[in-house]
Amino acid sequence: MKLFNCVHVGAKEISPLRVFGIFFIPNQIHQFGVYVYSTPKFATTKNIVFMTWKELFISSIGKKLVMGLTGIFLITFLIVHAGINACIFADLPFFNSEDNGEMFNKAAHFMGSTVLIRIMEIGLFAGIILHIVQGYLLELKNRQSRSVAYAKPMGNDGSKWYSRSMALLGTLILLFLIIHLGHFWVSARFTHNGLEPVVYNGVVMHDMFSLMKVTFTEAWVVVVYLLGCIALYFHLMHGFTSAFRTIGVSNKKYLLLLNSIGAGYSFIISALFALMPVAIYLNWVG
């Protein structure tokens, strides 16, 4: 595919600039991810079949794309996260009341022990940060598109409240995330505050299970975690299918399937997470 011919600005044909392999299309400046064009009206483009990587990711669809791709990445992460944490339920009398968090501690140890997973952790943070930054930029751009609000807004007529409140829900989740990282990740990675060693089969590990038990003895913490899970549930209810739409799933059959999977996923993940503090607080485990 030929990249592109030229850009018309008014009557003039201007060739694009290529610096270090990056194309700069004249007549447009990138600013904070928002396109600002030097001419207020139409700049005729002809035969442009060319998009810079930058453009691909910062145009309105590009922004969505970043949100969608990072969203799907985070959705995958949540499965892993919930899977590992669900190991605490191995201590339920139904399974093995003698487990005492052994399964969970081993899994948590595994997650912190290999270089590969450490690298993935960096990727995860990059994804989260991208998701947050792009999310806020998107919200900012979208809020700027209507300066005068309706006296009588549409409300829930035609859309779900949580679909319209992704930024709010995301902010709640972010707040929760900060608390949550403070509780577990900071001490697991850096301070080791409140972490006792525990030995399984001759290997010394951190007793994350005990840390959980201590953390969730306080009622307010449990409540905060529950609220976090509720926010997560609604965020996922919209985010799951929306992400797949954004990457271009338009087939009705698959969309319907994704809707169901999305609803199921959102509920199971959120409920699983919510059950953890509750189970510990109510002494179902540990």
Partner: protein, 657 residues
């Protein structure tokens, strides 16, 4: 003497000979020539796109907020083309013949044959543009049949063919806008033609957003401004559709042809009260399956479903056993009026007849039951099955009816009544689509040329696109090739200043009347006069009376109209006043034309001229001509006759018995 410039030679070769012998403009010169196009419907948008593609500098104007809104968009049924994809014997000649006959032998053979010749190219062009016509499972184009023909030649896109064709032309136009070949002026209304040395050289238009008058120069001016059906106030035209552009041209010397030829469509939703602002058409295709009736007892107060079969008068089937409910539009309309005038009308207004689907539902239900192998099934199942079939075929029309009337047409018969739909008359043009003013052209419904006294269904779209895509690109070159030495005339030329001054004075005059009656009330009164006396049936006495009444109305309008607001702002009432003032003048000419045409033909029915059975009676010996009217003075027109010579087709009396 009117020269229609029909090329000599056999009918089949006239257009090809014209194309190969007309003068051309070389590409370098095209860039120097500017063309103004007023109106962006099918004719205007297609002409603007095609001329811009050729290299002309085009300026296009429309009063709507976007060229995509033009009223061509509302055409439902389809577009005819002599493709003969169905292998059912269609040909260019047959399309030509059907159109001439459908027009009741009042159209030019040469023009109509050209129309039939290019009809196939239109379909090709539209498909190439991405118009999503209906297709068969094999992926090929689908056709349906339409009134007045025996072949299936109508291409369609569900019930929205006009919309899809217009969007195709609009996209082609916007492409040229993007390429800088067309400058688009939306929310602009043309208010006069600028004449320099006897040629049309530009227009004065009003920017409808800020009220400013603008001057635009063009080597030629194309009027593609549609028909004048809104002279009746109530019609199926859009609220903004108007005669102003054509009328201004008429005032500058362009002859107006056959103004009394107006088409009344039989299947519209009836008027519900004085508040009614416009009428809505229900596609003619409904008559394929529906049965039309009125009660046998005048003023029967019963609900339609309570009236037993033997007390219903299926008057079309009774009067026209051969064609039944499928008689042409003019015949069906007049028959409905006859019943209602005789006191058999239904509904609250008594100005409606029933269009009943109960039989069709049962018939389709039985077929469906047969297909499903349900040999003995109950009535309710059959009706349910039948309703599904009808829904699939006409669902969108039934929904529309239900929205407007609040009645469920699957349960109770629809009420319909004829309404003004299309105007066959318009600016007189020659074979090249030029009016009697040099450099001034009229395309599409704005001209008079192709439909004679009555238009067949699915032919309006065909004509608009034929004119814009395939006729004007050739014929305009024949004129502009002599204009290549004319430098663009600066708009400070005295002729521009003078014309703008006249426009400004007229606007100020209107604004300064500061009377007591609204523009709308005048329009309603005009519509009533024209509808009552120059509508579906006309007679000498009524027409004479109507002329007096319209003249009186004009006086009253110019002394008592009230227009709110100011000149230099967005002022829809002022726009409307400008249009209604022109409609009033046109109304008088329509009645005059109807009065002088002492025969019945097509949409024009003079009560004095009918057969013993009440059918239209043509007088070919005296009226085989086009009436082209030249405006001399206020209330004073001179008639020019363009004789119609039928060299190929033999005119005969239409019979649908």
């Amino acid at each position: 003497m009117l020269n229609s410039k029909i090329p000599a030679g056999p009918l089949e070769t006239k257009w090809s000979k014209y194309k190969s012998t007309c003068k051309l403009v070389n590409p370098a010169n095209k860039r120097k020539l500017e063309v103004i196009i007023v109106g962006t419907g099918l004719a205007g948008a297609s002409a603007a796109a095609s001329l811009a593609e050729l290299g002309y500098k085009v300026k296009a104007f429309c009063f709507q907020d976007s060229p995509r809104r033009a009223h061509s968009i509302a055409a439902q049924g389809g577009i005819n083309a002599a493709k003969n994809y169905q292998n059912d014997g269609d040909s260019t000649y047959r399309l030509f013949y059907d159109t001439i006959k459908g027009g009741d032998y009042r159209a030019r053979e040469g023009n109509v044959h050209r129309l039939a010749e290019v009809s196939g190219n239109i379909i090709d062009q539209c498909v190439a543009q991405g118009v999503p016509f209906a297709r068969e499972y094999g992926g090929l184009l689908s056709n349906r049949s339409f009134g007045g023909t025996q072949v299936q030649r109508t291409f369609y896109a569900a019930g929205q063919t006009g919309q899809q064709l217009l969007i195709g032309a609009y996209q082609a136009l916007e492409r040229q806008v993007a390429l800088g070949n067309v400058t688009m002026y939306s929310r602009h209304e043309m208010l006069d033609i600028v004449m320099i040395e006897g040629k049309a050289r530009g227009i004065i238009c009003r920017n409808l957003v800020n009220g400013e008058l603008e001057r635009h120069f063009g080597h030629a001016v194309l009027l593609c401004s549609g028909g004048y059906g809104n002279v009746f106030y109530l019609s199926t035209n859009a609220m903004g559709s108007n005669v102003t552009a054509a009328w201004k041209a008429h005032k500058k010397g362009a002859y107006f042809a056959n103004p009394c030829f107006t088409q009344i469509h039989p299947t519209c939703i009836p008027v519900s009260g004085d508040h009614q602002s416009k009428l809505t058409l229900m596609s003619e295709s409904l008559r394929n399956d529906g049965r039309i009736w009125v009660p046998k007892q005048a003023g029967d107060p019963r609900k339609p479903n309570e009236i037993p079969e033997e007390e219903r008068d299926y008057y079309l089937e009774r009067r026209y056993p051969a064609f039944g409910n499928l008689v042409p539009r003019d015949v069906a309309s007049r028959a409905a009026k006859e019943r209602c005038d005789a006191g058999y009308g239904v509904g609250t207004s008594k100005q409606a007849v029933y269009l009943d689907y109960a039989d069709a539902i049962k018939r389709y239900g039985k077929i469906e039951a047969g297909k499903k192998g349900l040999s003995s099934t109950d009535e309710a199942t059959i009706i349910a099955l039948g309703k599904d079939v009808v829904k699939e075929k006409y669902g969108n029309l039934f929904d529309m009816y239900q929205k407007i009337t609040g009645e469920n047409p699957y349960e109770v018969p629809m009420r319909i009544y004829p309404a003004v739909h299309y105007t066959m008359g318009g600016l007189w043009v020659d074979y090249e689509l030029m009016t009697t003013v040099p450099g001034l052209y009229a395309l599409g419904e704005a001209n008079f040329s192709d439909h004679g006294a009555n238009r067949l269904g699915a032919s309006a779209l065909m004509q608009g696109l034929a004119d814009g895509y395939f006729v004007i690109p050739y014929t305009i070159g024949n004129y502009l090739s002599d204009e290549i030495h004319v430098k663009p005339i600066a708009t400070d030329h005295p002729a521009f200043a003078e014309t703008e001054k006249q426009v400004r004075e007229r606007i100020e005059q209107l604004m300064n009347i500061k009377g007591t009656q609204t523009v709308e009330s005048f329009h309603k009164r005009l519509g009533k006069i024209i509808w009552d006396k120059c509508g579906m049936a006309r007679n000498e006495q009524g027409l004479k009376q109507a002329i007096e009444e319209v003249r009186q109305l004009k006086k009253e309008f110019w002394s008592d109209v009230r227009i709110p607001g100011n000149v230099n702002e967005y002022n829809p009432e002022l726009d409307k006043a400008n249009r209604v003032a022109d409609f009033i003048e046109l109304g008088e000419l329509m009645c005059l034309d109807a009065l002088t045409r002492e025969e019945s033909c097509g949409g024009h029915f003079r009560e004095e001229h009918q057969t013993e059975e009440g059918e239209a009676l043509r007088h070919d010996d005296n009226f085989m001509f086009v009436s082209a009217w030249e405006l001399k003075n206020e209330h004073d027109w001179q008639l020019h006759k363009e004789d119609l010579n039928y060299e190929v087709v033999k005119p005969s009396q239409r019979s649908y018995k």
